[in-house]
C-alpha cells in the first residue's frame, strides 16, 4: 500500500518539476533567458484587452503585413476583437485580392470581402524570399503557439534589437537581436522608433506599447478560441467537481453496506 502511493507522489513531483523546468528540458542547449511580461490574458481566467487587440491589429496592418501574412485568418474574424461588421467590410475593401478565373479564363483582382482570408504580401514563398534577401518572413497566424514561451518570446524579439557586442561581426542583411536563437536575424527592427503608428485612441505609441499591442493581437490570432475555452472550462470543471462529490458520497453510501 505504501509503495504505490510513494510512486504516485513521485510521478506528480517529477511532472511538476518538468513544469518549472519545461523550457530547460525542451528548449535550446544554448539558452537565452526570455524575460516574463505581465499579460492580462495568460492567467487562468484572463481575457484579451479589446483596445490593445485593435491597436495591435493597426500595428500589424501598418507595419508587419508588409512582409508577413496571417493566412489562417479571414477579415470576418475581426468582429471577434470588437470591430463592427461595417468596419470589417471597409477594412477588407482596402485590400485587392486575386479571384477567378472569370468567363474569359483570366484571373482578376477585386476588393476583398469579409469572407476572404487576409491578403498575403507575396504570392508564394519564392516571391517572399526574392524580396527579402533570401529570408522567408514566416506566417504569423500561429506564431505565439509555434515558439517556446511564444508570447513572451515575440515581445522580447520585437524590442530585442541591440548593437552587437564588440566580438561579434554581423554580416550585411543580418541584424543583431539578443533574443533570437543565434542572435543574427534577417528581419530589420520592425519597430525602430516610437510614433511609427498613430493610435486613434490617443495611446502613446512607444516601442514597448506597439510591441505589446501587436503581441496581444497575434496571441489572439493564434488562439482565437481562448476566451471561450477558459470560460467553458470553468463551467465544465465546476460541473465535474459537483458530479465527483456526488459520486464519492454515493460510493461511500453503497460501500457502507459491506461493513
Amino acid at each position: 500500500m505504501k509503495l504505490p502511493s510513494f510512486l504516485l507522489k513521485l510521478a506528480i513531483v517529477s511532472a511538476l518539476s518538468l513544469t518549472t523546468s519545461a523550457t530547460s528540458v525542451f528548449g535550446e542547449t544554448t539558452e537565452i533567458k526570455i524575460p516574463q511580461q505581465e499579460w492580462g490574458f495568460t492567467s487562468l481566467f484572463g481575457t484579451f484587452d479589446r483596445a490593445a487587440q485593435q491597436r495591435g491589429f493597426q500595428v500589424f496592418r501598418e507595419v508587419c503585413s508588409a512582409c508577413h501574412s496571417i493566412s489562417k485568418l479571414s477579415y470576418r474574424n475581426l468582429t471577434e476583437i470588437g470591430f463592427s461588421t461595417e468596419q470589417v467590410k471597409s477594412i477588407a475593401a482596402q485590400d485587392q485580392v486575386v479571384d477567378g478565373p472569370n468567363d474569359e479564363g483570366e484571373m482578376f483582382e477585386r476588393a476583398a470581402l469579409p469572407s476572404d482570408r487576409f491578403k498575403r504580401p507575396f504570392a508564394n514563398e519564392q516571391a517572399a524570399r526574392a524580396n527579402n534577401n533570401g529570408a522567408y518572413p514566416p506566417d504569423l497566424s500561429l506564431i505565439t503557439k509555434a515558439r517556446p514561451d511564444g508570447i513572451n518570446y515575440l515581445y522580447a524579439l520585437l524590442i530585442g534589437y541591440q548593437n552587437p557586442p564588440s566580438d561579434i561581426v554581423v554580416p550585411d542583411g543580418r541584424y543583431y537581436n539578443h533574443y533570437f536563437p543565434g542572435h543574427q536575424i534577417s528581419m530589420p527592427s520592425p519597430l525602430p522608433s516610437a510614433g511609427l503608428v498613430s493610435y486613434a485612441d490617443g495611446t502613446e505609441a512607444t516601442i514597448e506599447q506597439m510591441a505589446k499591442d501587436v503581441t496581444t493581437f497575434l496571441a489572439w490570432a493564434a488562439e482565437p478560441e481562448m476566451e471561450y475555452r477558459k470560460k467553458l472550462g470553468v463551467q465544465v470543471i465546476f460541473f465535474l467537481t459537483v458530479l465527483t462529490i456526488l459520486l464519492y458520497l454515493a460510493k461511500r453510501r453503497i460501500w457502507a453496506r459491506l461493513k
Binding site: L3, S14, L142, P224, E225, R229, I237, T244, L247
Partner: protein
C-alpha cells in the same frame, strides 16, 4: 443460477440472444475481490479513454484532409471554423497523453502486484499487445497534422527500419510509398490511424475475456477462496469506477481548457518543411524512455533492437519472474528493485527529452542497463534468493483480522 427477468420483452430477447443474462452474469455473479485499491481503477479508465478517442477521432476525420498540401490547413480549419472543433481536437490531442498516463499506471500496477503471473499470462500478454498497438497508433496519429514535428518524427522513426540488414532500405521505401515521407505516407498513415483503434478495441475485448476467466488479481495477490472474499462488480465497483472517472475528467479538463498545448511541442504549429529539420526534435513525452534507450546505443542497429526489445521483453515477463508470491507487498527485496525500476523509467524519460550530449549519454546508458537488468537478471535472481513474508490465509481474514469480527 440462471436469472429470471421481469420484463417480458427482455425475457423474449434474452431467450433468443442471451445478452441480458451474460450482462447479469458479469455484473452480479462474476466475483471481484473485495480488497481492490484505487490502482485497480486505471484499466476501466483506460477503456473509457479508448472510447473517447474513437468518438472524437471519428468526428475529426469528418473534417480532416489527408493530403500534404491541405492537412495542416484542415487542422487549423477545425480549430477556427468548425463548430466546437477546437474542443474536439484538444480532447483528442490531450487524450493521447491521458491514455498513456492511465495505461502506464495500469502497467506499473500489474508489475508491482504480480498480475502477470499464472494463471494470468495471456491476460498480461494481450495487455502488452494493446500497449504496442497504442504506440503505433499514437505515432502515426501524431504525423497527421503535418507540422514540423509530425514530418520529422515520421522521418526519423520510419528510418529506424533502415537499420535492418539487407532489406532495411527497401522496407523504408515500402513504408513511405516513395523516396521520402510524402503524400502517400500521409494517406496510408491516416487509413491506419483510423483502423488501428478498432483493432485495439478487439484486443481489449480479448483482454476482458481473459480477465474474467480467473478474475482480478488483488493487492494481496492471493486467490479468492471464500464467498466473503468477493463482492459483485455492480454496484460496488461500478460506483467506485464512476467516482474515479469524475476525478480523472477534472484532471483531463484542466489540460483541455487551460493548458491545451502544454504536453505538445511548439514546432508542430509550423507547417512541415522537408528541407529544414528543427533544431531539437523530441517525440511526445510518452515515447521519451524508449527514445532514450534508442539513443543510448552508439550502433544504429543495436539501438533499434534494444528499443524494440524494451517492449518485447514485457511479453516474457511472466516467465522471468518465477517467484511464487504475486504481490510486491510480501516481497521485501523486490519492492525496492521495483521502486528503482519506476524511478529509472522517469530517468530514461528525462534523458530522452534532452539532447544526447555530455552526462546525459552516460546516465541514459546506465538507466538502459538497469531497465534490462531488472528483467533479465534481478527478477530471475530474486525468485531464488528472496524470502517472501508470510501470506494471509484469505482476503476476508486480512480485512477483518485487526478487529477480529467476521460478519
Amino acid at each position: 443460477m440462471s436469472v429470471v427477468f421481469k420484463n417480458r420483452l427482455v425475457r423474449w430477447i434474452d431467450h433468443r440472444m442471451p445478452i441480458f443474462s451474460s450482462l447479469h452474469h458479469e455484473m452480479y455473479e462474476y466475483p471481484v475481490p473485495r480488497n481492490l485499491n484505487y490502482l485497480w481503477n486505471f484499466g476501466f479508465l483506460a477503456g473509457l479513454m479508448l472510447i473517447i478517442m474513437i468518438v472524437t477521432g471519428i468526428v475529426l476525420a469528418m473534417h480532416y484532409t489527408p493530403n500534404t498540401t491541405m492537412a495542416f490547413e484542415s487542422v487549423e480549419r477545425i480549430m477556427r471554423d468548425v463548430n466546437y472543433g477546437w474542443i474536439i481536437r484538444y480532447i483528442h490531442m490531450n487524450g493521447a497523453s491521458m491514455f498513456f498516463i492511465l495505461v502506464y499506471i495500469h502497467i506499473f500496477r500489474g508489475m508491482y502486484y504480480g498480475s502477470y503471473k499464472a494463471p494470468r499470462e495471456i491476460l498480461w500478454m494481450l495487455g502488452v499487445v494493446i500497449f504496442f498497438l497504442m504506440i503505433v497508433t499514437a505515432f502515426i496519429g501524431y504525423v497527421l497534422p503535418w507540422g514540423q514535428m509530425s514530418y520529422w518524427g515520421a522521418t526519423v522513426i520510419t528510418n529506424l527500419f533502415s537499420a535492418i540488414p539487407w532489406v532495411g532500405e527497401d522496407i523504408v521505401t515500402w513504408l513511405w510509398g516513395g523516396f521520402s515521407v510524402d503524400n502517400p505516407t500521409l494517406n496510408r498513415f491516416f487509413a491506419l490511424h483510423y483502423l488501428l483503434p478498432f483493432v485495439i478495441l478487439g484486443v481489449v475485448f480479448l483482454h476482458v475475456i481473459a480477465l474474467h476467466r480467473f478474475g482480478s488479481n488483488n493487492p494481496l495477490g492471493i486467490d479468492m477462496k471464500r464467498p466473503q472474499d468477493s463482492i459483485s462488480f455492480h454496484p460496488y465497483y461500478t460506483i467506485k469506477d464512476a467516482f474515479t472517472i469524475g476525478l480523472f475528467l477534472i484532471f483531463f479538463c484542466y489540460f483541455i481548457f487551460f493548458n491545451p498545448n502544454y504536453l505538445g511541442h511548439p514546432d508542430n504549429y509550423i507547417p512541415a518543411d522537408p528541407l529544414v529539420t528543427p533544431a531539437h526534435i523530441v517525440p511526445e513525452w510518452y515515447f521519451l524512455p524508449f527514445y532514450a534507450i534508442l539513443r543510448a546505443i552508439p550502433s544504429k542497429l543495436g539501438g533499434v533492437l534494444l528499443m524494440g526489445g524494451a517492449i518485447a521483453i514485457l511479453f516474457v515477463l511472466p516467465w522471468l519472474d518465477r517467484s511464487p508470491v504475486r504481490s510486491g507487498r510480501f516481497r521485501p527485496m523486490f519492492k525496492w528493485f521495483f521502486a528503482l525500476f519506476v524511478i529509472n523509467c522517469f530517468v530514461l524519460g528525462y534523458c530522452g527529452a534532452n539532447p544526447p550530449e555530455g552526462h546525459f549519454i552516460l546516465i541514459s546508458r546506465i538507466a538502459t542497463a538497469y531497465y534490462f537488468a531488472y528483467f533479465i537478471v534481478i527478477l530471475p535472481l530474486l525468485s531464488v534468493l528472496e524470502k517472501p513474508k508470510p501470506l494471509p490465509a484469505s482476503i476476508s481474514e486480512s480485512i477483518y483480522q485487526p478487529k477480529n469480527h467476521l460478519e
